[in-house]
């Protein structure tokens, strides 16, 4: 137990101490001592600040991510289950996926203005592709025997979707959702860097513009914590949702 704890915390502690010591006497304007950054962190990220800046960011992130997941899965199932549609849509989808999402920000601003809607659309526009393409792949790869079994036992329409297509595509869908999550965080920040009046990305840029360097660093650290926290949440959710899949894979590997 102690050994495990040592392994988990050992390196982080060493790195932290090294940073702290190495930066203690830093004269560099842009790399202030860690002591200052920590002090700035405590001063900057007060509960009010979190509510005023982090909460709106998270709300937009959540809205955009969920919307992208819904659209991606719905369109992905439709396209994946229809070979002709898939053949027609594939090159177009490949193209849209390859467009770096941030370059769409100026375009989306033209259509959607600068409000929360724009930021949500930006997030959706980037997140939807990995979900969609993975869903298409997952649905397409539905096992033939399983599909026959479902058909022989009269599973059609909604039941087929719910009991066959979605669960059998779920490992791929979740892989897509995982990719989408990191893209969503990136786009949340980027959409706030372009035109915003609150949000985590906005605040960090504001600190940078006003040369409040320790505060800026504290924002970067907060963003890192946020990314880490969300990915841990995702991992928990995935472990629950895909328990059967990991078990199946382990069973296959053993045999």
């Amino acid at each position: 137990m102690i050994k495990r704890l040592l392994l988990v915390l050992g390196l982080p502690v060493v790195l932290f101490v090294t940073w702290y010591a190495a930066s203690a006497n830093s004269e560099n304007f842009y790399a202030p001592p860690l002591r200052q950054i920590l002090a700035a962190f405590v001063d900057t990220w007060t509960p009010e600040r979190l509510r005023a800046d982090v909460l709106p960011s998270l709300a937009r992130l959540g809205a955009g991510y969920l919307l992208a997941a819904l659209i991606g899965i719905a369109a992905g199932v439709a396209i994946g289950a229809n070979p002709r549609l898939r053949a027609a849509a594939e090159p177009v989808l490949e193209f849209f996926r390859a467009v770096p999402p941030p370059v769409l920000v100026p375009v989306i601003m033209l259509f959607a203005g600068i409000g929360n809607g724009m930021k949500v659309i930006v997030i959706v526009s980037g997140c939807v592709w990995p979900v969609l393409l993975n869903t298409v792949e997952g649905v397409r790869a539905t096992d033939g025997v399983l599909a026959d079994t479902a058909r022989a036992y009269g599973l059609t329409g909604a039941a087929r979707l719910r009991h066959l297509l979605l669960p059998s595509a779920s490992p791929q869908i979740i892989a897509g959702l995982r990719q989408a999550l990191s893209i969503a965080i990136i786009l949340m920040v980027i959409s706030e860097m372009f035109a915003a009046s609150n949000g985590l990305g906005f605040t960090i840029v504001q600190f940078q513009r006003s040369f409040a360097i320790p505060e800026m660093w504290s924002g970067i650290i907060l963003l890192g914590l946020l990314g880490f926290g969300l990915s841990e949440l995702f991992r928990l959710a995935e472990r629950h949702a895909l328990a059967w899949y990991h078990g199946l894979r382990d069973a296959q590997r053993r045999s």
């Binding site: 096992d143 025997v145 036992y153 009991h163 066959l164 199946l248």
Partner: protein, 263 residues
């Protein structure tokens, strides 16, 4: 009862045509257990899929009465069970689809699992079970469905010999107890003779019914004595020679299918 009349199936891909089934006609009486044997690649699976309604015939017709009274067990047990559902849910799902009331469903599931000897595995996932047990789940699912006709597509081709013998006996005992019609497809001649009341022998592709044989072995069969019975040996020899004849007799047709399959 099951009636197949003039069944023909041609696969088309592009300009190529492959005739899988040429002209099949046979009937299976209600409550009968009939085995279908034929050389590999003779279109047994195609036939079964046509009967199950998974595939539309090119011409001819299949009469099965009520299709919802039809259940099917595939060879690939690992791929025919829903890996994201427990054993119980796998057996239960088709019943839910049939809108069977909940209490009755619970009864049916429990009975079926008991019948195949899987008590106590309800909450396990299929992949936590051995291959033979997985196939038992698939059989339980079919049995719980209370079908009038049960189609089995080489169900024991992928399990080990000992398990296979057990499962064969299981099928016969379930059949005797529940009195449903069973069409059992296999490439194993011994299995066909051991299980069936009647054996239908198919030719090589394009397929027709080559011959038909009534198995006049006693209804009570067991692995040890039945297989040692001289009558069993005679019957299996006859089936064997017919299959051999089917293979050599239509060798050119088989080659044709091969060349079009490797495109």
């Amino acid at each position: 009862m099951l009636e197949v009349k003039g069944l023909r199936k041609v696969y088309r891909s592009g300009s190529r045509e492959v005739e899988a089934l040429r002209d099949l006609t046979f009937t299976v009486a209600a409550g009968e257990l009939v085995c279908l044997v034929g050389p590999s690649g003779c279109g047994k699976t195609t036939l079964l899929r046509c009967i199950a309604g998974l595939l539309g015939p090119t011409s001819g017709e299949v009469t099965v009465g009520d299709r919802s009274g039809l259940a099917i067990v595939f060879q690939e047990y690992g791929r025919s069970l829903f890996p994201w559902m427990t054993v119980r849910d796998n057996v239960d799902l088709p019943l839910r689809q049939k809108k069977v009331p909940k209490a009755r469903r619970r009864e049916l599931v429990a009975e079926a699992l008991t019948a195949v000897g899987l008590d106590g595995t309800e909450s396990a996932y299929p992949w936590q079970l051995s291959g033979g047990m997985q196939q038992r789940v698939a059989i339980a699912r079919a049995v719980a469905y209370e079908p009038s006709i049960l189609l089995m597509d080489e169900p024991f081709a992928a399990v080990d010999a000992q398990t296979r013998a057990d499962l064969e006996d299981l099928v016969r005992s379930l059949w005797q107890r529940l009195g449903m019609t069973i069409l059992f497809v296999t490439h194993d001649i011994d299995e066909a003779v051991y299980l069936g009341q009647r054996v239908l022998m198919l030719s090589a592709s394009p397929t027709v019914v080559q011959d038909e044989l009534t198995v006049d072995l006693p209804a009570e069969r067991d692995q040890l004595h039945t297989r040692a019975d001289p009558r069993f040996v005679t019957l299996r020899t006859r089936v064997y020679s017919q299959i051999q004849a089917a293979k050599t007799g239509t060798a050119s047709g088989a080659a044709g299918e091969l060349s079009s399959a490797d495109r």
